[in-house]
Structure formats: structure tokens, C-alpha cells
Symmetry: C2
Subunit: 126 residues, 2 copies
């Protein structure tokens, strides 16, 4: 299939697909007229990339998963490099959550100081 169809089926823009190729994540064969040619395995790659992106991974983070898939594995997380990225991202997310919780406490304290009673109206647990 060509880039337009892959884009439609994967739910991304053609620009994104060309960008992925430029970043070395999605190499494309070319047909005689210069058009990029893709197959089902490429769709799988894009799907993997997208699902990683939606959980906050960067394209660089996605690289090991893509390479794992291209190496013939059934899943992108079947390789130790991918698992390592998972662990690193988990730590990053935990750090971000801690930072946000700290900020939330700061802002809530300031808010209650400036406007007592206001804080009661919101909450993470809500």
C-alpha cells in the first residue's frame, strides 16, 4: 500500500509517516515511480509507535520497540532494551507525579491562604 492508505488505516497524517521515516523508525521501500510502498508489518510498526506516543513516550523512546518488532519479534516489548525503556519511563512518570503532587500542595496551600475554603471544592480523588 502507499502512504495515503497507511495513514488512513493507522489514523495518522502522511506528514507523520514521513517524519517517522526521517527519524529512522519507519524505513520504506520505493516503487519504480518513487512512491513509498508499505505492507502490513509497517502498519504494525506505526500502531506500536502510536500506542507508545499516547502513553507519553517520545519517538526516541519508541525506537527500541520498533527495532524489536523489525527484528522479527511478535511484540515490540519482547526485547530487553524495550523493557529497560519501560522501567526508565515508569521512573520518569513517578518522578513527574511526585513533582505534580508537590506543586498541587503548594498551590492548594496558597489558595487556602488567599481564599480560605476554596480548596475544598476540588481534589485529585474527585
Amino acid at each position: 500500500m502507499r502512504i495515503g492508505e497507511l495513514a488512513r488505516r493507522a489514523g495518522v497524517s502522511t506528514r507523520a509517516l514521513r517524519y517517522y521515516e526521517q527519524q529512522g523508525l519507519l524505513p520504506a521501500r520505493r516503487s519504480s515511480n518513487g512512491y513509498r510502498e508499505y505492507d502490513e508489518s509497517d502498519l504494525k510498526l506505526v500502531t506500536e509507535i502510536r500506542s507508545l506516543i499516547t502513553v507519553g513516550f517520545t519517538l526516541d523512546d519508541a525506537r527500541p520497540f520498533v527495532e524489536c518488532l523489525r527484528a522479527g519479534n511478535h511484540a515490540g516489548n519482547a526485547c530487553p532494551e524495550s523493557v529497560e525503556v519501560y522501567r526508565r519511563k515508569l521512573a520518569e512518570i513517578d518522578e513527574q507525579i511526585r513533582t505534580l503532587l508537590g506543586r498541587r500542595a503548594e498551590v492548594a496551600a496558597q489558595l487556602s491562604e488567599a481564599c480560605p475554603g476554596c480548596v475544598l471544592k476540588t481534589g485529585v480523588t474527585t
Copy 2:
């Protein structure tokens, strides 16, 4: 005092101060030679801006606080506009925390699937 001293005392770069001025957050008087001239109240403004920035506010978010201070109030959060920003930011932070918790669960699930037992090694509560 001039821009260099204010920068040192506030712990920011002169570039940042000029940027704040450009954004209308820190208007500066000019001495006869064209140099920016600041006083203690300006230091207070910068301090306010910085403390807001460190809890994740944008310069635009900081605007009401700065205007509140310039209006003669003892604190930047003494005005209803500031309080409103606090509430909005609190909601934003809560939303971000929810998003991150969702991502954390996703990644943790993927990790445990790819490498059972790995998840046990980390945690937000740690």
C-alpha cells in the same frame, strides 16, 4: 538599581528580566542614559514571578499576580483574578496527575506483561 544588580539579587538572568518587561510584566523606568532603573518593589515582582514559575505557572498565569502587586496590594494573591488562576491551575494540575496516573498504570501493566516481577521494584509511594 540597574538590571545587573536586580538580576543577581533575584537570581535570574538579565535576559529574563528584559523578557518579562517585553511581556508587560515588569515595566522599567529609564535613567537619562537609557539604562533601566529598578527599585525594591521590582525585586518583589520578580520574586513573585519566579515563585509562580517554579510551581509550574506560565508567565501569562503570573500576570494577574503581578498586576495585583502593582496595584498596591501587599500580596499578589490578594486579588480575585489571582485566586481564579489558582483555582484553574489546581484543576489543571489535578488533570495532569490523573493523566499521569493513567499512563503509569498503562506502562506498569505493559511492563509486567513483558517482564513479570519488574514492576515490584518501583512505585509512587516509595
